[in-house]
Symmetry: none
Subunit: 151 residues, 2 copies
DNA sequence: CTAAGTGCAAAAATTTTGCAAACTA
DNA sequence: TAGTTTGCAAAATTTTTGCACTTAG
């Protein structure tokens, strides 16, 4: 919905960050970032590189790696769960919080937001005299397919 | 404190798991597991392998990898954080599960267990077609003292 | 123009695999 | 004994690096 604004946001933030570090705002960097932010979910470097190459021929793999590191350093992306052999990233949008369910067998990741849980968390936290600022919830288990395949 | 009992617990659980899968309870497996459970924190494969080799010469690296996969499959360990190039693991003690509230200002950590939250987690997970194996919940905020000091 | 960034391919680092020998049940 | 597991080293994967060439500022 607020796609245009969101785009403007990362572009501006990334540019600022690069400039502040005395770096150059180059086309390859912006292209990789653009592809990354256009992808839903938690793309692995693998999928990301494939998509980048598909949309922009001639961008080297090393640039994809280097740009993702840049995005992480700038706080626009974070490295996430693991277990499938390559790095996965998630765009960081502080506005839209969500938690994760992760299949420990195939690595599938589901995002969810459960108000009831958030509320209980607030309660527990308050009960311990704390003021809740943020949280992180990860549930590990087996997804439907892997459960079936298990037998 | 309950070290002896805890030891007995993973040993029994691991043995059960291996047997159930028609596998063999071998010395190398038990040795790797023993070293792993004796290490605090989130040892990386790297440190783990080093420690294993230090305490038991002649155990191959592949066995360390294979045993850690076994521990993960059996639910006695989970793969954790990333970002340093190799896999990290955390021992999971199903009996003594607890979540954390962490003060982002002074670093104080409170452990708590909230059945209602656990239940809701089960529900969400099931609703997404998953079977929950474990989870991790961390709440960040400010503790009472830091709140007072804040003004 | 100068310093930073890029692409490529080679190197490094991490994890998995094949197989004969050793071992568990 | 039959079938699993091991250790080793080789293979496969994933990530980083070196370097000549381009490009942003």
């Amino acid at each position: 919905m607020a796609d245009v604004k969101a785009t403007a946001r990362w572009k501006r933030r990334l540019t600022e960050y690069i400039r502040a570090a005395g770096g150059h705002v180059t086309a390859p960097r912006m292209r990789v970032a653009e592809v990354f932010f256009s992808m839903a979910g938690h793309p692995g470097i693998e999928e990301l590189a494939t998509e980048v190459h598909k949309r922009h021929k001639g961008i080297g793999n090393a640039t994809v790696y280097r740009t993702m590191r840049l995005l992480c350093d700038s706080g626009l992306a974070v490295m996430r769960e693991f277990g499938d052999g390559f790095a996965r990233y998630e765009a960081r949008n502080p506005e839209a919080h969500h938690d994760h369910i992760i299949c420990t067998h195939c690595g599938k990741i589901i995002e969810f937001g459960e108000d009831a849980i958030e509320e209980l968390q607030e309660n527990v936290t308050r009960r311990h005299g704390f003021l809740m600022k943020s949280h992180r919830l990860e549930i590990y288990g087996l997804c439907g397919e892997c459960l079936k395949a298990e037998r």
